[in-house]
């Protein structure tokens, strides 16, 4: 029974991951590739001497990385020491994306299924859309209020800080939405809203210098495209999870 629950979640996740790959290739990936052509150029606002010298070392690093990597120079991000980068198993960029989507899909599927089982109301065909929408809100929309989806080359604060803030925000948002959606008491709903607001009152880590070589229009298009595709991903994930649960886990 336990195995069946896990398999159902993984199956739904793999299907959603497959769907996500197709959706990404339509709009999101072309935008990433476009932005990468600007990456490594100096930001237009601050052409100082210091900026210039760091750019030179960057381009040296880039050429070194592109010589070492058979895949694509686009992966050699500026300022980053790429000692042992490169795509796993020497796959192509698309295969890497597909694989990562499948893994991520299975992961989110398991998280969704796990929360469903623990709360005693796993997604069904009827509630799947709602579960998916709540998942999207807590993992993407609410964290995106503080840390919008970024293109390569965008200015950003320290990675560790952002990841910590993102994780905490995701967890608090899921908890808050769970309280609002699943508990009937007014107090619980109020507490849910407080949990949703807390990380934003605290504030997301922001970069000190927001100058960027990547055009802002691309960033806006990308943010919308990324949120839209992840919404589609979560709706598919919730619905497929529900359908599989209805069919194979009637007992749950």
């Amino acid at each position: 029974m336990i195995v069946k629950t896990l398999l159902a979640a993984i199956c739904a996740g793999l299907i959603a991951g497959l769907f996500m790959t197709a959706a990404q290739e339509l709009r999101v990936v072309p935008l990433i590739l476009h932005a990468e052509t600007y990456e490594g150029e100096p930001a237009p606002e601050t052409p100082t001497a210091h900026e210039h010298s760091s750019r030179e070392s960057r381009s040296l690093l880039q050429s070194l990385a592109s010589a070492l990597q058979p895949i694509t120079p686009a992966y050699a991000h500026d300022g980053e020491a790429h000692e042992d980068g490169g795509i796993m198993f020497g796959l192509s960029r698309f295969s890497g994306t597909l694989m990562a989507n499948l893994v991520t899909g299975a992961g989110f599927g398991l998280l969704l299924g796990g929360i469903g089982v623990l709360t005693g109301s796993p997604p069904t065909l009827r509630t799947g859309l709602t579960w998916g929408a709540l998942g999207w809100l807590s993992v993407h929309m609410l964290p995106a209020l503080g840390l919008p989806p970024e293109l390569p080359g965008f200015p950003a604060a320290d990675l560790g800080d952002r990841q910590t803030w993102w994780l905490i925000t995701t967890a608090l948002s899921a908890l808050g939405l769970g309280l609002i959606a699943l508990r009937p008491e007014i107090v619980a709903k109020g507490a849910g809203f407080v949990l949703l607001a807390l990380p934003h009152i605290y504030g997301a880590p922001q970069p000190g210098d927001i100058a960027s070589p990547v055009p802002a229009v691309l960033g806006a298009e990308f943010a919308v495209a990324a949120l839209a595709t992840t919404l589609a991903f979560w709706l598919v994930l919730g619905t497929v999870s529900g359908a599989i649960n209805d069919r194979f886990l009637k007992t749950a």
């Binding site: 990936v29 000692e83 796993m88 890497g96 998280l111 840390l147 990675l159």
Partner: protein
């Protein structure tokens, strides 16, 4: 086709807890590996995915 909450044949509470916690752990592990893990190989493989899922990335 109506889906009922047939509690008579439902998972025992214990089984539900195990199934739920197990899938939470595995799920978190997978998402962490694909989305957040600080490894150059994992980062490069999942690069486009990390960006499009809005995971904080380099």
């Amino acid at each position: 086709m109506a889906v009922t909450n047939a509690s008579g044949v439902s998972l025992s509470l214990n089984d539900r807890m195990i199934a739920g916690l197990l899938s939470l752990c595995i799920g978190a592990f997978l998402v962490f590996g694909a989305g957040l893990a600080n490894s150059a190989v994992l980062h490069d493989t999942a690069h486009d995915v990390r960006h499009s899922f809005g995971f904080p990335c380099h």
